[in-house]
């Protein structure tokens, strides 16, 4: 017995490669058996892959292809123009405007959406009677379609019949051109978007808050930490994965806001709300210029991809996972 132990200790210098060379047993599994996982993975992923290929990847590739062409009235690529669609875009003031507007829109909507939702979630996380009702109300916009929401706001923004201007004039403030003034229009669309986003963000943040261990607060309270100290030192760090998720999703959604722009402003006035996504839609479905539209779509995809990657690279570092 002791002898055996000694033998084993003598093999101290054995490397993995040595062990494999010396004792590796040729597998009797057939190729078919070895690829079992691949096959099952392929089988299970097939529906998704197929659908993604047909409805996501193929269109993107097709868009890429179209972006080097002009298209005729039937929408088929008819004249190869090389990089012209791209160079034209970069020279075009309208496109630069769209980019600027989009960035501004993201800036308007993302932080405020998240902050408002966080505020509501903090409020609704208190243990009070009837809190369920408040939660349902705060979450309600998740159940609102873009079409319905935008139509309601469209009417509220109505220059003369709208309730917002009625409220303003009733307290002797001048009526606003919510959707007709260049600077105001983007703000108005942003308000609508924030309102629409709130329900979803609120629900997720509330869920995140409820997952935070109650003991953390108890021990902080014993230490005498005040509400805002706890908020800063416990809630926000513990909520950071949820916040990160919400920021990413809101960010992507913000880039893709379409319905509310279509219904509220149609990209106007003076292209002040012509977000890239809307500009793509107009170029493609109103002007029927699929080439330039596709070029914009490709640029948008690239930009969102880049920004999201950057966000993951820099944002995720600050995230505190449990």
């Amino acid at each position: 017995m002791k002898q055996q132990a000694a033998d084993i200790l003598d093999t101290k210098t054995l490397t993995v490669q040595d062990a494999i060379d010396k004792y590796k047993v040729a597998s009797t599994k057939t190729w078919w058996q070895k690829t079992g996982n691949y096959r099952i993975a392929f089988l299970y992923l097939l529906p998704s892959l197929l659908l993604f290929s047909v409805f996501m990847f193929y269109p993107m590739i097709y868009s890429l292809y179209l972006s080097f062409f002009f298209t005729d009235a039937q929408g088929t690529a008819s004249a190869f123009v090389g990089w012209e669609n791209y160079t034209y875009l970069f020279q075009s003031a309208a496109f630069r405007n769209s980019v600027g507007v989009t960035l501004l829109f993201v800036l308007y909507t993302v932080p405020s959406s998240v902050i408002i939702a966080l505020f509501l979630a903090l409020l609704a996380n208190e243990k009070l009677r009837g809190i369920g009702l408040y939660r349902t109300i705060f979450a309600s916009t998740l159940g609102m379609s873009v079409a319905a929401s935008a139509v309601i706001w469209l009417f509220m923004f109505h220059p003369t019949a709208g309730i917002l201007n009625a409220a303003l004039t009733s307290i002797n403030l001048p009526a606003l051109s919510w959707l007709q003034d260049s600077t105001m229009a983007l703000v108005s669309v942003a308000i609508t978007t924030i309102w629409m986003n709130t329900g979803f963000s609120f629900l997720i943040l509330l869920g995140g808050l409820q997952n935070i261990d109650e003991h953390l607060y108890e021990s902080a309270r014993i230490d005498g930490a005040g509400y805002f100290y706890r908020l800063r030192r416990i809630t926000v760090p513990m909520l950071s994965p949820t916040l990160f998720f919400i920021i990413t999703i809101t960010f992507i959604n913000s880039f893709q806001s379409f319905g509310q722009v279509d219904i509220l402003t149609g990209g106007g006035p003076a292209e002040a709300t012509n977000l890239i996504i809307y500009s793509i839609y107009k170029e493609a479905f109103i002007y029927y210029q699929f080439g330039p539209a596709s070029a914009q779509a490709i640029i948008l995809f690239g930009a969102v991809l880049l920004l999201t990657l950057l966000q993951f690279k820099f944002g995720e570092k600050k995230v505190h996972y449990q």
Binding site: M1, K2, Q4, A5, A6, I8, L9, T11, L14, V16, Q17, A19, I20, K22, Y23, K24, V25, S27, T28, K29, Q33
Partner: protein, 375 residues
């Protein structure tokens, strides 16, 4: 056929092709044997169990189950059952459904299923809980369900991965006995993973001590206890662990521990580095006929446990522990003399940690005490 046997031949496992998770292990486990894999966490014992179960691929080497090569046999065809550390009960199924889950998959006839289920739950005293969901059970009850599931499967080999680690100490003691009895009653081969040396000592027919993926020693619990192959095993098996101190080798081959009396042991060459080990229960406070070596030490702590007293004292740089029957009152800092029988001294090679085979029993020269004095 060797139904119920497991044979490992030069088994190695590496996840990254650089380091071993399990290194070159060979062992024969006999049918009906209770075999324990023991070692500290990360030593590769679970990996080995999972290789036996077929849940991990084997990097090199061969495995034979029931006498047949099983390297490529999927878990379900190895005719084994397995009990997991967290019991792996399906939370959405009742106790009964959990127990019968495997049988249903194997399309065992309904009547047979019920019979086996009742038999198993009867054996484990779980019959009244059949309709409950796992979350309505206590830890011990869940453990029993997991056992029952293994029992009904009627597999000749049962693998257990730290099944008792989530239970409290008292329950653990009870379950140890039950599992052991169950295994003997069913006559199945049991391969049992634990980090708890007490379980290993009390339950196993044989055990394998592992460290860093390498086998340290294989053998019957008492053999290993009495003849640990190296310092690690000596230290790991037994509680409190064996006291080990560096010993100075004098020119004449005798040993000295921290300016204390030297001890003549032969043969030992003067250029050798040596470690000396003695189990706590082999330290006596009074000189007897048996004892033939004494050391003067300073008490640092006294723990009176009722039926025995744990003394800690400084021996050179290291702290030794002694387990003395009865209740003893000492002051901290008090100097006293301890007595040891040389037969109980283990010597280890200071470089490799290997036990020096001749250390015990060979150099048993009577009362080879030189110089020094008692208190």
């Amino acid at each position: 056929m060797e139904e119920g046997s497991v044979k490992l031949k030069h088994i190695s496992k590496s996840y990254d092709k650089q380091t071993f998770a399990v290194k070159e292990t060979s062992v024969d486990i006999q049918p009906g044997e209770f075999f324990v894999l023991v070692g500290p966490s990360g030593c590769g014992k679970s990996t080995m169990l999972r290789m036996i179960a077929g849940l991990e691929e084997i990097t090199a080497g061969e495995i034979y189950i029931h006498g047949k090569s099983a390297n490529d046999t999927p878990p379900s065809r190895r005719r084994i059952s397995m009990v997991f550390q967290n019991y792996a009960l399906y939370p959405h199924l009742t106790v009964e459904e959990n127990i019968l889950f495997g049988l249903k998959v194997r399309k065992v006839p309904k009547k047979e299923q019920l019979r086996l289920c009742l038999e198993a739950t009867d054996m484990l005293g779980m019959t009244e809980f059949l309709k409950r969901k796992p979350r309505e059970l206590s830890g011990g009850q869940r453990q029993r369900v997991a056992l029952a599931r293994a029992v009904v499967s009627q597999m000749p080999i049962c693998l257990m991965d730290e099944p008792l680690s989530n239970l409290d100490a008292k329950l653990r003691g009870q379950m140890r006995t039950e599992i052991r009895q169950l295994q003997q009653k069913l006559g199945i081969t049991m391969i049992y993973v634990t980090h708890d040396q007490v379980e290993a000592m009390t339950m196993g027919d044989r055990m394998m001590v592992l460290k860093d993926g390498e086998v340290q020693q294989i053998g019957k619990p008492l053999d290993i206890y009495n003849n640990p192959a190296n310092e690690f095993v000596a230290n790991f098996i037994g509680a409190p662990p064996m006291n080990i101190t560096e010993a100075e080798v004098q020119r004449d081959g005798s040993l000295r521990v921290h300016h204390n009396n030297s001890l003549t042991l032969l043969p030992a060459s003067s250029n050798m580095k040596m470690h000396l080990g003695v189990r706590p229960e082999h330290i006596l406070l009074t000189k007897t006929q048996e004892t033939d070596w004494e050391l003067s030490v300073k008490i640092s702590t006294v723990e009176i446990l009722g039926n025995e007293t744990l003394l800690t004292f400084e021996v050179g740089e290291t702290l030794w522990k002694a387990k003395i029957p009865g209740q003893w009152h000492y002051e901290k800092g008090q100097v006293t003399t301890i007595h040891i029988n040389k037969q109980h001294i283990h010597l280890f090679d200071g470089r490799t940690g290997k036990m020096l085979p001749e250390s015990v029993g060979v150099a048993r020269k009577p009362a080879a005490v030189q110089g020094g004095a008692s208190i």
